[in-house]
């Protein structure tokens, strides 16, 4: 697969303040990448570097195979700024139409997306509510069907229903072969759509992990209830099974990784009821990367 975003040794200092240091990251075509980190970690810095709003102190970026300074490449990028600012007396629709005109495409998508996100485009931009501004921001990022979407905290200010709709839009974009990089403070916001997640902290990328791999690492609590008491030996020593308690017709345990062995063991009896808790990926993720980084995960 070809890389859509390639950053190599990317650093950005604001005077002497560190924004980002030595980031090396590749995002492949068709991938949804969740970019996580606490406040001040360097997410916005990275994203603004990708869009050539700010220039790197050191390092190299290729975006869609081009130098980000090549303005033509931005016709293929949809960008939602982290601090979206929309002002003035112009109606949101007129502004979006202006953007479509400069990009040379996307006009027909404006009403379609507005309806999906339930955005009122007849309001003047300065009077939009925070959530509605964010919707206008999303419409302009998605409307020209860009090959790459770069979204800085896209769900901020959106109510839960609109968040769901937004996630559906991200899935559709991925299914259409587009690439997405989206930032967030919490894994829960991005885990359901992301293929991979990366974490920045203090300007450094401290972990990158596939979401599927994280799920495999997940510890989950499982309960089986059978129609008759079961022998404890049938469940002892199964790979990945821990904290096993067999009490009459009930088996309780936690599984670490794949549930395969446990399911096969249970299948020899008649299962009447089963409970499997959805693992909290966030917890695993944080545990996972705080092991790598020695200092405690104090923030976030």
């Amino acid at each position: 697969m070809t890389a859509v975003i390639e950053a190599e040794g990317l650093s950005k200092f604001y005077g002497r303040r560190r924004g980002l240091e030595n980031l090396t990251l590749t995002v492949a075509a068709g991938e949804v990448f969740g970019y996580l980190g606490p406040n001040g970690a360097g997410k916005t810095t990275t994203i603004r570097l990708l869009l050539d709003v700010i220039r790197p102190t050191r390092g190299r970026i290729r975006i869609l195979g081009k130098d980000p300074r090549d303005h033509r490449v931005r016709a293929r990028i949809g960008y939602l700024p982290g601090e979206l600012s929309l002002e003035g007396t112009e109606r949101a629709r007129e502004y979006l139409e202006f953007l479509a005109q400069v990009r040379g495409s996307g006009r027909s998508q404006i009403p379609v997306l507005a309806e999906r996100l339930e955005a009122d485009l007849s309001v003047s931009m300065g009077k939009l509510s925070k959530g509605n501004k964010q919707k206008v921001g999303l419409i302009q990022a998605f409307m020209h069907n860009p090959d790459l979407l770069v979204l800085d905290e896209p769900t901020s200010g959106l109510d839960p229903l609109v968040q769901q709709e937004f996630l559906a839009m991200v899935r559709e974009a991925r299914n259409a072969g587009r690439t997405v990089l989206m930032s967030s403070h919490v894994l829960a916001e991005v885990e359901h759509v992301s293929d991979r997640v990366g974490v920045v902290r203090g300007g450094r990328l401290v972990a990158v992990e596939g979401v599927a791999a994280l799920r495999e690492k997940a510890i989950r609590r499982v309960e089986f209830h059978f129609d008759a008491p079961v022998p404890p030996e049938a469940f002892e020593g199964l790979p990945g099974v821990r904290d096993l308690r067999v009490e009459g017709t009930a088996v309780r345990c936690t599984i670490d990784g794949r549930p395969d062995a446990l399911i096969k063991a249970a299948a020899r009896f008649t299962v009447v009821h089963m409970v499997s808790e959805e693992p909290d990926l966030e917890e695993i993720f944080l545990a996972y990367y705080s092991e790598e980084e020695d200092h405690a995960y104090a923030g976030a």
Binding site: V53, I54, H71, V73, R74, S85, L99, R103
Partner: protein, 266 residues
């Protein structure tokens, strides 16, 4: 017209209407009282005004021969108030090209468009130039109409020459404000610096004629190239105007280069 120019002009629409109406109201008011001044030469004639010291007269806008049409027009419109209004208008528009939207954060989405940085600066500048041209053309039409109505006896071509100077001077100071905004991204800096240059330049032009020690400063002062040729009486000061135009080009080029090289919104 390129899309960004059109869009920027649309953003400027309200201010442009405001400035055009304001400047025209000012002109109408002052030019309409000319007949009463022309009718009282003993109060406003040269002899009556000669009692003011030369430097003071210069600072007040010449007070030269204000009972004649050209003198009145020069003193009331082209000496101080015209440049003042045009320059303030130009600086405020020019500041909205880069520095103001950068401060507000609205420039971020413009930068994400498939437009080069140079093109953004050039198109935004073009919108300032066109906007100012609209104000100039309308006010020129008004002045020529008033000149005819109140019998000022000044040729249209001379008014055109003087108005062209007004346009170039204001565009120069506006382009300076735009350039400082493009270099620093700070609207307060752009406003203070370009306003300071305009005021200093006016003072130099008014006083340097009488103070030899600073007379060399006139050569770098925009007002010198605006006022020295006296277009209302002598016609087109082509050389001076070309220098103003060249200075605009240099500032614009500087703005483009600077904006192309720096971080935005930091």
């Amino acid at each position: 017209m390129p899309t960004l120019v059109r869009k920027t002009l649309r953003d400027y629409r309200r201010s442009l209407i405001g400035w055009t109406v304001g400047i025209c109201a000012f002109l109408t008011l002052y030019l309409s009282i000319y007949p009463s001044i022309a009718a009282n030469p003993d109060v406003y004639g040269d002899a009556a005004l000669a009692k003011y010291p030369g430097a003071l007269r210069d600072l007040m806008g010449g007070l030269d021969d204000i009972a004649s049409g050209a003198g009145y027009l020069q003193t009331l419109v082209y000496q101080l108030f015209g440049p003042l209004l045009f320059i303030v208008c130009a600086v405020l528009l020019a500041n909205r090209a880069i520095a103001v939207p950068e401060g507000k954060g609205t420039l971020e989405l413009t930068l994400a468009l498939p437009l080069s940085r140079s093109r953004i600066v050039l198109e935004r500048w073009a919108a300032v130039a066109v906007g100012l041209l609209i104000v100039t053309v309308v006010s020129f039409a008004l002045v020529t109409t008033m000149v005819a109505l109140v019998d000022m006896n000044v040729e249209v071509d001379r008014v055109l020459a003087a108005h062209t100077g007004l346009y170039l001077l204001a565009l120069l100071v506006g382009t300076l404000a735009l350039a400082i905004g493009a270099i620093t991204g700070r609207k307060a800096v752009a406003l203070a610096a370009s306003g300071g240059v305009a005021v200093a330049s006016y003072a130099i032009e008014s006083l340097a004629k009488n103070v030899d020690a600073i007379s060399w400063l006139r050569w770098v002062s925009p007002f010198r190239y605006y006022a020295d040729g006296n277009p209302l009486r002598l016609g087109w000061p082509v050389g001076d105007y070309l220098i103003l135009a060249a200075a605009i080009a240099v500032l614009l080029f500087t703005a483009v280069r600077a904006f192309d090289r720096r971080d935005v919104g930091v």
